[in-house]
């Protein structure tokens, strides 16, 4: 059972971000001229000042920059504890996402963990959450089992 969440209000600037997960893909706004990823979305590239910016797909891989295990009940409809994290996408190290880290015992979460995006369907919003990269995706089995 999923917790109640206050969802983002969709507008012309953020729609691509919050709905991109419908295709299973994480997208950031990117500069068409220099490739810099811009987050949160803005109307100009802060590196080269190009006004030509558009959503760019990324791998969905990220590194955990920091986290907290929240025990306090702040709002109706949530089950504590849960993990809030800040992740850095592998494509660019100066933008971050605040998110939830799921699929792992909270006590096992560590800064520096490699994570991958998994979307929570709150149609029309698809929330980018993150889980540990599956072991099978990072290394071949070492014990000889198929």
């Amino acid at each position: 059972m999923s917790d109640f969440r206050v969802l983002p209000r969709i507008d012309e600037d953020n729609e691509f971000f919050w709905t991109s997960g419908r295709e299973g893909v994480l997208r950031f706004l990117g500069c068409d001229h220099c490739g810099y990823l811009i987050h949160p979305p803005g109307p100009v590239c802060p590196k080269c000042w190009s006004r030509q910016v558009s959503p760019q797909p990324v791998s969905g891989r990220a590194t955990l920059y920091s986290f907290t295990i929240n025990h306090q009940n702040w709002a109706p409809g949530t089950e504590e504890p849960y993990v809030i994290g800040i992740v850095v996408p592998v494509e660019q190290d100066d933008i971050r996402l605040t998110t939830n880290v799921i699929g792992i015992d909270p006590g096992a979460v560590e800064i520096g963990m490699e994570l991958e995006v998994v979307f929570e369907d709150r149609d029309p919003v698809f929330l980018p959450l993150f889980r540990p990269v599956a072991a099978s995706a990072t290394a071949a089995p070492r014990d000889g089992t198929p």
Partner: protein
């Protein structure tokens, strides 16, 4: 820049006042504000009719749940003030932006005596329930909070816990070290009759309290209260006429050079305290070694740790060892810290409590908690995350 040109030297704090402070007073914000304002005006040796400017943080509409306090029009009308200058707002170098704006207004001749105030009724608004989350109960979230609230990061406690966790990770900071800050402040609060929490608290009490959001426990978080604090900022030429020793602004710190964001700021272990503090030291020949007392914002204990580093009382990342054991920051230590008990124990007067305490200490009026040796220079800081302002205050002489 020549020091004579500094705006800071054209203004002083001539008076301070503070209302009753407590948990669930069931008094209105305007009632508390007028109590504090009248005390401050009298303390400054002025009449209500002398006040020709007003400034507040955050102003009406600045937030729900007893956070905002009355706006300036409500206070102006209640006191029938005839104003030459007025302002209120939530954007700027933290809560003390109201005081810095007032100093600028006085320095530029827009006003001569400015009433600055900060009023909270968060304890009454909270009632018997727990502390509610930001955005809890709204149907949808737009603006900058859309990037945190949908992930159940409902409180600044959650946001700043991640800053603290990063600090722990990079520098080896521990909860035992962080706990020296709330434990020291509880000891100071025992000597402050207006503090809301005065019972003794040990490091063991701190460590065994329930966890809010790791690494923060209950005593890392400040205590919502009801109360109002007022400060009169006057033209420096009034200082010799003030009945109590005036307080001088040596320098203010207002910079915000990193991204103005809770999670996108470049270094979460320093936050924007780094920028405000750097800009303050750029405006003075004084150094951290000259500071006698520190009144540093403590919405969460970790913010005080950050300010100690940002202001240069210790190196970056060295805040944990600096406060460990608490001797250095005690009332009789090398750098007495949050001498009234701060927001953690005296109550969340939201930045203005720290200004009020600095003025009391510089005057020698702090009673049982007065720091000995006649402190001459105080560092005062407000804010956390992407919100920061600071100042150096000294006794007029």
């Amino acid at each position: 820049m020549s020091r004579a040109e500094l705006l800071e030297h054209r203004a002083v704090i001539s008076g301070i006042g503070q209302s009753q402070v407590g948990r669930r007073l069931n008094r209105s914000g305007i009632d508390l504000t007028v109590e504090a304002a009248l005390e401050a005006i009298s303390d400054a040796g002025l009449e209500v009719a002398d006040i020709d400017g007003i400034a507040t943080y955050p102003g009406a509409g600045g937030g729900p749940g007893g956070f905002a306090g009355p706006g300036t029009p409500e206070v102006q009308d209640a006191m029938r003030l005839r104003l030459n200058w007025h302002t209120g707002g939530i954007e700027g170098p933290a809560q003390m932006a109201a005081v810095i704006n007032a100093a600028m207004a006085v320095a530029t001749g827009l006003a001569r005596h400015v009433l600055c105030y900060r009023t909270v009724t968060e304890a009454t608004a909270q009632g018997g329930g727990g502390r509610g989350g930001i955005g809890a109960g709204v149907p949808q979230m737009g603006g900058t909070l859309q990037w945190s609230i949908p992930f159940k990061a409902y409180s600044a406690a959650c946001w700043l816990a991640m800053n603290a966790q990063r600090h722990f990770h990079e520098f080896g900071t521990t909860r035992e070290q962080l706990g020296a800050i709330p434990v020291n402040q509880r000891a100071n609060a025992a000597l402050n009759p207006k503090a809301v929490y005065r019972d003794p608290m040990s490091l063991e009490d701190y460590l065994s309290a329930r966890i809010i959001t790791t690494p923060f426990g209950l005593y890392d978080c400040d205590a919502p209260v009801d109360g109002s604090t007022a400060v009169i900022v006057s033209s420096a030429d009034y200082a010799p006429d003030a009945p109590r020793p005036a307080t001088r602004f040596e320098a203010v710190g207002t910079a915000l050079r990193g991204r103005p964001s809770w999670d996108q700021f470049d270094d979460l272990t320093t936050m924007s305290a780094r920028d405000a503090a750097a800009s303050m030291w750029e405006r003075t020949d004084l150094t951290p070694a000259d500071v006698d007392i520190a009144e540093l914002y403590d919405g969460f204990s970790f913010l005080t740790l950050c300010w100690l580093e940002a202001l240069g009382f210790c190196g970056r990342g060295e805040g944990g060892p600096f406060v460990e054991g608490g001797r250095r920051i005690a009332l009789d230590g090398a750098l007495p810290l949050n001498t009234h008990g701060g927001q953690l124990s005296a109550g969340r007067l939201h930045g203005f409590g720290h200004i009020h305490e600095a003025v009391l200490q510089l005057r020698g009026d702090a009673g049982a908690r007065q720091v000995t040796g006649e402190p001459e220079l105080a560092a005062v800081a407000n804010g956390g995350g992407p919100i920061a302002g600071c100042m150096l205050l000294s006794r007029w002489r």
